[in-house]
């Protein structure tokens, strides 16, 4: 009756590929952050389905750490978006392809 763990892995792979495609295709920095969040989330789903396979708590423990990583990534990514918008008046990631100093 329980869910086969390979279903969770397949769903994690599909979500990861969607996030990777969005990361490669989109130029808007907000969508880049969204895609990275989707990819991190897919990784967490992989850990949880693997933990459910052996009924161990380690998968959810790693998911807790992934939450901390996602929170830090969101904070830094949003600060970068605000800096880019303040500096170049756009959120196009191509506007920051040249660095100075």
């Amino acid at each position: 009756m329980s869910v086969p763990p390979v279903y969770g892995m397949v769903l994690a792979a599909i979500l990861f590929v969607i996030g990777l495609g969005g990361l490669l295709i989109r130029r808007n920095m907000v969508f880049v952050v969204i895609s990275v969040e989707v990819m991190l989330n897919a990784g967490g789903l992989g850990f949880i389905s693997a933990g459910a396979r052996w009924a161990q708590a380690d998968g959810q423990a790693v998911f807790l750490f992934l939450l901390a990583v996602a929170a830090a990534e969101a904070a830094i990514g949003l600060a970068l978006i605000l800096w880019l918008h303040h500096r170049h008046r756009t959120v196009d990631s191509d506007s920051a392809r040249q660095m100075r100093g």
């Binding site: 869910v3 769903l11 969005g22 949880i48 389905s49 009924a55 959810q60 100075r100």
Partner: protein, 207 residues
Amino acid sequence: MTIAFVIAGTLSIIATLLAVSRSNTVHALLYLIGSLLALAVAFYTLGAAYAAVLEIMVYAGAIVVLLLFVVMIMNLGGRRKEEERALLGPSVWVGPSAVVLGVAVELAVVFASGLTPATESSYVSAQMVNAVVFGPYVIGVELASFLLLAGVVSAVHLGRRHQKVIETGSDSPPERSSEDRDPPGTGDRGESGPAWATRLHSKEVVE
């Protein structure tokens, strides 16, 4: 329970595809919230109720709402009021509402059928998770605190006002005119030199 997982996973895939392909940022974030809720249902059916609750509270409740706040602060798009009113048509909210309604109906069916994951063999309780996190993985908790501290410091550093940097960056590109090719050192630097050299000189004096 497997059919609930399949439905939740399908909803999550559809909502994620819509989230990364929309042109409006706010709509994409609403679809992302729907995707995260569907994924929380998938976690629940996998026996990870604790992770499902954390997914809703931390991801959908904190991170995505923070993204929404930043998008609203930047006012991306900058629409007027009538355009905003035109955006409230059914074509805007039908998609996210369908996703969230699907998740809600599925949760109701799961709860009504009594298929709680407590009877499953793969159920992992919050007590087990926290006993592991604060037991063998306690060094990971310390490292996560370091990581969050670094995130806060870098966010504050990037969020400062860069007025001085922006001013010097905007007027520092020197114009390659004929006076630029004058050999340096001929005459007084503050009077006959190019304008940017004067600024550089005064900046050196100030500093």
